[in-house]
Amino acid sequence: MELILFYIFGGIAIIASLGLVTGKNPVHSALFMVVVFFVVAALFVLLGAEFLAAAQILVYAGAIMVLFLFVIMLLRLQKEELRNTSRHAFQKFFGIVLSLVFAFQVIMIFRGGFFKGAKGNFPPDAVKGFGGNTEAVAAVLFTDYLFPFELTSAILLMAMVGAVVLTKKELK
């Protein structure tokens, strides 16, 4: 059952990401991207990471994609794609070949016997003992990773200030 679901979601993810890369209209690409985000959230649920699945939908599908669609609609991009002005004739060919070689190499590395080394402190039973995936993530996040967690607030503040400064018409 889990395997069938994995293949369904994985197939949708690959098809949707191909649609994202090949779509002529940026709006279509953005909508394919939403599909990819939802399918990745489903894969997170299959992997037992329910908190990340919820965060994925809220942050990516909810916030980032709306921002993307906003900007696409704001800038009239439709005619940009039709103007084909690529000066690098071989870039497409080499880009595809090199990416495929990369994927092949990574898949070769990942084939079998890859997971070795000491196991961590959170087997499924321990996660259940904490009360669920969210509580287990919180237990690690607010102890071992407290300082990086505080730093993310600074990152978000910088992003906010930066976005305001960059889109302002003129600085006084």
């Binding site: 889990e2 395997l3 994995f6 690959i14 994202l20 890369v21 779509g23 940026p26 690409s29 991207m33 990819v36 990745v40 894969l43 997170f44 992997l47 990471a49 908190f51 990340l52 965060a55 994925q56 942050v59 990516y60 916030a63 980032i64 921002l67 993307f68 906003f70 900007v71 800038l75 991009l77 940009e80 103007r83 084909n84 690529s86 690098h88 497409k92 080499f94 880009g95 595809i96 090199l98 990416s99 994927a103 990574v106 898949i107 990942f110 196991k119 961590g120 402190n121 959170f122 321990a126 993530v137 690690v140 996040l141 071992d144 993310t152 990152i155 992003a159 976005a163 960059l166 889109t167």
Partner: protein, 100 residues
């Protein structure tokens, strides 16, 4: 029960598709979306490792990656808006101000 290697292979395929998009497409916004796709592919492999190794650290990393991706999207789209305002295009071949 899915063999965990399958998740890693799926993640590699998605990453490669994203890389193809970054190298092939000429529209800056689509390139940006392909970068988000690559970030997501890496997230899948991190969560798969996290499950296989019985550790929560991978999921915490994914949480941080999501935060950085949100910040990056805000900044990147702001750059694109001001770029479009100045050059009237988002074709990366025509944005060559800093090219030698």
């Amino acid at each position: 029960m899915v063999p965990q290697e399958h998740y890693l292979v799926l993640s590699a395929i998605l990453f490669a598709i994203g890389a193809i998009g970054v190298l092939v497409r000429r529209n800056a916004i689509v390139i940006f979306m392909c970068i988000e796709l690559m970030l997501n592919a890496v997230n899948v492999s991190l969560v798969a490792f996290s499950k296989q190794m019985n550790s929560m650290d991978g999921q915490v990393f994914v949480f941080f990656i999501m935060t950085v991706a949100a910040a990056e999207a805000a900044i990147g789209l702001a750059i694109m808006v001001s770029l479009f305002r100045n050059k009237e295009t988002l074709n990366v071949d025509e944005i060559n101000l800093m090219k030698w």
